[in-house]
Structures are given as C-alpha cells and as structure tokens.
Amino acid sequence: MFSYIVRRAAGMVVSVLLVVTITFILMQLIPGDPASVLLGPNATPEQIAALNRTWGFDRPILVQFYKYFVNFLRGNLGESIFFRQPVLRIIGQRAETSVFLGIMALMVVVGLGIPAGVIAAVRPNSWVDTSLLLLALAGASIPSFWLGLMLMVVFAGKLHLLPSSGYTSVIATGNLANLKNLILPAFALGFVNAALVARTARSSMLDVLRADYITTAQAKGLRDSVVILKHALRNAAIPITTVISFTFASLVSGAVVTENVFALPGVGSLIVQSVLKRDYPTIQGIMLVVAVLYVVINFVTDLTYAFLDPRIRYR
C-alpha cells in the first residue's frame, strides 16, 4: 500500500506542476505587456514597477516562471484588477456558496441516482427501467442552465414555492433557512449527473446480481432487501463511486452557468464576471484552484479504491 501511495503522490505532484505550467503558458498568450494587462488601464508607472518586481515580468521567461511558481507555492495568486484585493481572498469569500451548492447537488446526484439505478436493475425491462432510461437520456441532453430556468419559471414564478435567485451566507448570518435558495440550483445542477450515476448503478448492479454469491444468498432464504442492499450494492459500489468522483468536473462546469442563472455569489459567477471584465489574475487564480482541487480529488479517490479493493494496488 505504501509504495502505491508514493507512486500516486508523485503522479499528483507532476500533474499539479503541469497545471501550473499550462496556466502560465496561457497567460503568456494574452496580447500586450503583462504588467499593464494585469493592472488594468489606470495603472501608474510605480505600480507597474512594483508588479514587475514581484512577478519578474521584465526578466527572462524562465525567471518569470520560477517567480510564478514560487508565488503559487506561497499562495500568492496575484491581485484582482477589478476588486483590488488578493485573488485567493476573493475566491475564499465566494467559496461558501459554491461549496454548499456542490454538496447539495451531490446529494441530489446520490439520492436520486443510486436508488433509481438499483430499482431499474432489480426490475430490468419494467416500466421503471424504461422510464429511467428515458430520463437518463433526457438528463444527458438537457443543458443544466435551461433546466434551471424552467425550474425557476415553474417553482418560483408560477407556484411561488421557492426563491428564484440570490443567496445570503449561512455561515455569516447563522440562518439555515438561506439554504432554501440553493434547492432549485442544486436540483438543476444535480439532475444531469444523477442520470449518469443511475445508468452506471444500473449496469454494475446487473453485473453483480448475476454472481453466484447472490444465488447463494437467495438460496439461504435471506430477504430480498438484504440481498440487494447488503450483498449486491456493496459489491457494485466501486464503479458507482468512480462515476460520482467524475461528477466533480461536471458539477464545477455546471455550477459556472447555474450560479449565473440563479444570481448566486459563488466562484462560478466570479469567473464569468472576471471574463467579462478582463480580470486576468482572477481568471488565472480560479483556473489554478479548480484544477489543483481536481487533481487532489482524483488522488484521494484513487487511494480510496486501493483501500476498498486490494487488487488495485498491484496493478
């Protein structure tokens, strides 16, 4: 196990390095003098000189890359042109909304996806199975922002059941009722991935249900619920977990648009704002944070598998 962890950790470090390099190269592609681009049109010569000192924009490219990397390790992702504050701090302020939205969307994914998949696998070709298949197809084809807008029309506009937009911090106000604002966005965001998880849960459950130990368990006279939940679902868990861990990237992508639809003050709406305002340091900071998070999550998932299934360690 130890050597497996070391190998995967080394892989993770290489990926992080590459992610940092790619963002660096991308930012080199912006036309114009970097210091004036980063400071915006109203910069003074003193500010430009100071920025050149921190990031070394007037030095050779390798020195720049070195400084960029050192700054990254120190957690210095630069300063936002628009907010005039360190990028990392702004991302931190916006993180709460996105994290809560992500958790709630994940609850939709798991809470809808796994039961739906299990039911479809237990009764293959039944109406439940067919409608699940259709729903899964629809889920994969409906853009999450459109679904969000439609939910808004129905639940906020017509039925007045849930708020349609905005979000105030639960942590700052201590008011849990604010989470109501995230229900519609979380559903819009989670539905697509729930469909995917349901499909995977169905097919891996179908594989497992054919196994001999299921027949044995049934022959022992165990109740169906015990056989399905204890013997089958546990063994079908690995592929399902994989798909759930894949949903991270797709949840982040979806969140960018969903936060925008529901006017939520999260990291997703921050990047859109920054693109519209050409706030390059913020764009770059968000890219880095999200990609590094992705690499780390992959690492943790891989370790979890290796822990759950010893065969993986020896591959």
């Binding site: 590459l18 459109w146 029309v153 506009g157 982040v252 925008n260």
Partner: protein, 277 residues
C-alpha cells in the same frame, strides 16, 4: 436482446436520424422559408405569446422567436461541425503517435491529463478571455481546445490496443515501416472509435457553445443563436418564458439525437468501445 427491444432501438435510431435530418434541412434552408426576418424589430408586437401569427411568440424587441430559433440552427451546426473537425485534426495525429510510440505517449498524455483537469467551461471561458473578442473563430478554438484532448484520449486508448494485434506484428515481421503500419493497419481501424467520439463531441460542443453564448462570451449578440436568445430572454422569463423554452427545446433535441446516434453507432460499429468512448 429481445425482439421488442430491437424494435425499440430501431425506433429510437429512426427518431434520432429523423430529427437530425430535419435540423440539417432547417439549418441549410431556413433563411429562405421562415415567416419573418429573424432580425426585424416590431415594437407593437413585443412579448407576444405563441399564436397563429407567431408560432413561438415574440421577444422584447418584437422579433419572431420561431424564425430566430430556426435560423439559429445554422450557426449551431456550423460551430458543432467546426469544433468536431478541430478536435479531429489535433486529436487523431496526437493520439495515434502517443499510442504507437511509448515515449511520445508518456509526455503527450501527461499534458492531455493536465489539460483535462480544467473543467470544460472554465477552460473555454479562460481561452475566450485570452483571445479577447467574441466571435465564431474564437469560439471554435476555445471549445475545440476543450474537446481535442478528449479525442486524443480515445484515439490513444484505441491505438494502444490495436498495435497489439497479430496483424500488426505480422506486418512488422514482413518489414513494413512504422509509417506504413500507422496508416495502413492502425489509422484505418480507428475509424469506428473516431466516428463515435466525433458524434459525442458534436453533442457536447453545441451544448457548451450555447452555455458560452448564454453567458454572453460566445459569438456576438447580433447573430441569432439559441444560447444568445436564452440570455436575452432571462429578464422576461416570468412574463414571456417562450423566449427561452423554444431555443432550449431545439438545443436539447439536437443534443439528444446526436447522443442517440452516438450510442447506436457505438453498439453497431464496435460494442467493445463502450469501455473507451
């Protein structure tokens, strides 16, 4: 597979192909047969609900949603095709070389994995910001850069398994050059996975283009596009939801039919691809 299921498959495939063909016809000919000029303003007809005069209603400028939605098909298909082509042009050569030469593969696949660590829309948004202006070509590059790595992955995995085939070994034993093996024995057999992946690329890329247009960073707002229409309709969503409903239905139907087609092609051409594509 039961007989009923086979018929059902056939039906869904027919449905998908039917929708696709109609959309292709619409995208080519719609400018000649739509009832209104898609850009014609009519202040007396603002925010009209769907009716006999305006099948899909009108927007806040009194423009006909039906005409705009149909004409928007064209820009969607042009972008979808161009992005798939972009992914092919970069993805196939890189994938084949990485799969065939281990050393090349080690380097390229690392970079590809790192590129794929950026969630699709975030990479596309950043690229749009870097290129500076909204526009068709920039959208093709931005979204193409997102989907090309995924094409590389598919081609790479397929090449890895293809090169282990006995006929490749036989060709090598007969003294065939690497170039000949790559073109005559490997590239030819990549056709199925590449076609299948292109179908999915098309489906995902038109969804992403719509998202970019919806966020206002895709193609310029004066070109009628489904994402752009939905963006403009947001302010009036409660009063005039039809501005958003119809372009969304068209988008979902296009994506759905490409996904169905991709699934069907995959099962038809090579069921083993399920694990790769």
């Amino acid at each position: 597979m039961s007989f009923a299921k086979l018929i059902l498959r056939r039906k869904t495939l027919l449905f998908a192909v039917g929708i696709l063909l109609s959309l292709v016809v619409i995208s080519i000919f719609s400018p000649y047969f739509v009832p209104y000029d898609p850009d014609a303003l009519s202040l007396t007809d603002r925010l009209k609900a769907p009716s006999g005069a305006h099948f899909f209603g009108t927007d806040h400028f009194g423009r006909d949603i039906f005409s705009r939605t149909l004409v928007g098909t064209r820009v969607t298909f042009i972008l979808g095709l161009s992005i798939s082509a972009f992914a092919l042009v970069f993805g196939v050569p890189l994938g084949v070389l990485s799969g065939y030469y281990d050393r090349v593969g080690m380097v390229i696949m690392r970079v590809i994995d790192a590129l794929m660590a950026f969630p699709a829309i975030i990479l596309a948004l950043a690229l749009m910001a870097i290129m500076g202006k909204p526009g068709m070509v920039n959208v093709i590059i931005a979204v193409g850069m997102v989907w090309a790595p995924r094409m590389v992955r598919v081609v790479y995995s397929s090449t890895l398994s293809l090169r282990e085939n006995t006929y490749v070994e036989a060709a090598r034993a007969l003294g065939a050059s690497s170039g000949r093996i790559l073109v005559r024995h490997i590239a030819v057999n990549l056709l199925s996975p590449v076609i299948v992946q292109s179908t999915f690329t098309f489906a995902f890329s038109i969804m992403e283009v719509a998202a970019l247009n919806f966020l206002g960073v895709g193609i310029p707002p004066y070109v009628p596009s489904w994402g752009g229409m939905m963006n403009e309709g947001r302010t009036y969503i409660i009063r005039a939801p039809w501005i958003i409903i119809f372009p969304g239905v068209f988008l979902a139907l296009s994506v759905l039919s490409f996904n169905l087609l991709g699934d069907a092609l995959r099962d038809r051409l090579d069921p083993r691809l399920r694990n790769i594509v």
